[in-house]
């Protein structure tokens, strides 16, 4: 997502005392803000190991809650559904997003500005509006379909996957376009001068060079899909359950150490994914 810039300004060293007092205050502020950002995460993780059955106090160490998690068929089923949706939607939105990014960076065409706006809209629109619009759309079109053909469709994993693809495409496009910006077109020309056809050029020159961008986009899409609650909440039918929706339902009832445990695992997955994406982008 964020690269450390390649050009750096010389670091100013000779500061007068007043300015370094200012830096000290800024440093203190930064430490406090970091505590604010990380204290809840630390507390959550710690309290997934507490013996306290309310999960809000430290009364000794136990792994019991994780053991119970593994026995909870409902949660495991929801986790599998979430994984299935995230994988499917990531594959589709990465392919579509990469194609769109290539079209937007390589070609000038009529309606390009309009399409550009359409691409950014899913990122800036309030998520709840997109979620309720998808719900209304599925209900509406399923209603028409039933009227016309008698076919009765229901919301479920299919509708969630479609919705996740719709909201992650734009993020993939942004990341892949960024990697296409610094692309040296002469490399492609050279390949074609040497007799490579279009597909060979793409397969052996373009694709390897923009691959870090594509993987970065895919990881972002995967994380967004895995963590998404609002759109998932609106587009899953009554029968199916995904992890964030399941967790939300349980959290609304009470705090339990079991939820602390599943939350900790969800955090662990997200943090692993950030590290992975940063690692891939740094290697570029």
């Amino acid at each position: 997502m964020l690269d450390t810039p390649t050009t750096r300004k010389p670091y100013v060293t000779g500061m007068d005392s007043r300015r370094s007092a200012g830096m000290l205050a800024l440093g203190a502020h930064t430490i406090l803000t970091m505590v604010f950002l990380y204290a809840p995460i630390v507390v959550l993780v710690a309290f997934s190991f507490t013996r306290d059955s309310f999960g809000v106090r430290w009364t000794g160490f136990t792994l019991d809650w994780y053991r119970r998690l593994l026995a909870d068929q409902r949660l495991l089923g929801a986790a599998l559904n979430t994984l299935y949706v995230a994988l499917t939607s990531t594959i589709v939105s990465t392919i579509i997003g990469t194609m769109t990014a290539l079209a937007m960076e390589r070609y000038r065409f009529r309606g390009r500005t309009g399409f550009d706006a359409l691409l950014y809209l899913p990122i800036v629109i309030p998520e709840i509006v997109m979620a309720l619009a998808l719900l209304a759309f599925f209900a509406f079109s399923f209603g028409i379909l039933e009227l016309l053909s008698g076919l009765r469709l229901q919301m479920g994993l299919g509708t969630v996957t479609i919705a996740h693809i719709a909201f992650t495409i734009s993020f993939v496009v942004v990341v892949v376009r960024a990697s296409l910006k610094g692309f040296d077109m002469r490399l492609e020309e050279a390949a074609q001068d040497l007799g490579a056809n279009e597909w060979q050029t793409f397969r052996h020159i373009t694709l390897p060079l923009i691959l870090p961008g594509i993987i970065g986009g895919a990881l972002l899409a995967f994380t967004l899909s895995l963590d998404d609650f609002i759109i998932t909440f609106f587009t899953t039918g009554p029968g199916t359950s995904l992890l964030p929706v399941e967790v939300y339902g349980q959290v609304k009832r009470a705090i339990t150490p079991k939820i602390n445990a599943i939350s900790t695992l969800m955090l662990l997955v997200s943090i692993t994914l950030v590290f992975l994406s940063q690692f891939i982008q740094r290697r570029r």
């Binding site: 964020l2 450390t4 810039p5 670091y11 200012g22 830096m23 800024l26 502020h29 930064t30 803000t33 604010f36 204290a39 809840p40 995460i41 507390v43 959550l44 999960g55 809000v56 579509i96 194609m99 769109t100 290539l102 079209a103 070609y107 065409f109 399409f115 359409l118 691409l119 809209l121 899913p122 309030p126 998520e127 709840i128 509006v129 997109m130 309720l132 619009a133 998808l134 209304a136 759309f137 509406f140 919705a163 693809i165 719709a166 909201f167 495409i169 994380t223 609650f229 609002i230 609106f234 939300y248 959290v251 705090i255 939820i259 939350s263 969800m266 955090l267 997200s270 943090i271 950030v274």
Partner: protein, 300 residues
């Protein structure tokens, strides 16, 4: 001239046309899936919401297709809805303001660190940005709960317990917590492009620190502030998870009403919910345009 056109142009144009056609074909092929998906599953759903907003809610929650403006009328006359809009916008403004006050110095500090530290600090800001919003909100329930950490500290000091959650204060904390990274990242990006020797130039010309900040640094980093504010404001106004969990669903924010009208209330009222969403989008658009106008005017 005439001879030239006769001999060379037809062949050239045929080749050019063929090339152009294959180029256009390739563009179409690349463009089609994305365009198709976004039109069908993003643009069209928004059109459906507009349609619903003019429909009549039936007694059992089924929508009846009689045109009406009554849904919009309800929004502007019933205090439940008017208050929800006002409360959400107020929460959005307050959260944006506090995130700005906390985020700007944070971004400034990170920019002024040596490269190695910058990477680490930036990464620390990035992690919450990638982790589950629901889980991070839930973490505050644990901290603020009646037997939680803060109350334990209060009791250890010999003071009586405080009901910290559910409350509107808890909602505000949750909103700030969830959105702070969205403010820091764009401000960091604009501070990173800022030339800090300009401050020395201002000082040499006799400006004190406050003046140099207000007249040089602030205007030049305004694009980052504007971007960060919009990124915080939009999700804050539309949220329902934080007020549901940390506010105990006692006070209605815009998002809570939307969620209830569409999924929970008995019977659901999609036409009214749709009208509410349309007005919400209109308010947001106006607010953001106004904000950008103000911030760019200050720039001049």
């Amino acid at each position: 001239m005439a001879l030239e056109t006769l001999t060379s142009e037809p062949r050239e144009s045929r080749v050019a046309a063929l090339l152009r056609r294959s180029e256009r074909f390739r563009l179409g092929l690349l463009l089609f899936p994305g365009l198709f998906w976004l039109l069908l599953f993003f643009a069209l759903p928004l059109v459906v919401v507009v349609l619903y907003s003019f429909a009549t809610p039936g007694p059992t929650g089924r929508v009846e297709w009689h045109f009406t403006l009554a849904n919009y009328g309800t929004l502007f006359t019933e205090s439940l809805y008017v208050n929800a809009y006002l409360r959400s916008i107020w929460a959005g403004v307050l959260t944006t303001l506090i995130c700005l006050l906390a985020g700007y110095p944070l971004a400034l500090y990170i920019v002024r660190r040596p490269p190695r530290w910058r990477t680490v600090l930036l990464f620390l800001i990035l992690i919450p940005f990638w982790t589950n919003f629901l889980v991070r909100t839930y973490a505050w329930m644990i901290i603020l709960s009646n037997n939680g950490i803060i109350n334990s500290i209060i009791q250890a000091l010999g003071l009586p317990r405080v009901a910290l959650y559910p409350s509107e204060g808890a909602v505000l904390i949750g909103l700030i917590y969830g959105n702070l990274p969205f403010m820091v990242l764009p401000i960091f990006a604009s501070l990173d492009r800022f030339d800090f020797t300009l401050l020395e130039a201002a000082a040499d010309l006799g400006a004190d620190q406050t003046r140099a900040f207000l007249r040089v640094m602030l205007p030049l980093t305004m694009p980052g502030i504007a971007a960060g504010s919009v990124l915080v404001f939009i999700p804050t106004v539309g949220q329902f998870v934080v007020s549901d969990l940390l506010g105990g669903a006692k006070v209605d924010y815009l998002g809570n009403l939307l969620q209830r009208l569409f999924t929970r209330s008995n019977p659901p009222n999609w036409p009214l919910g749709s009208a509410m969403a349309i007005v919400f989008m209109a308010v947001l658009t106006v607010a953001i345009l106004l904000y950008f106008r103000i911030t760019t005017e200050q720039d001049r």
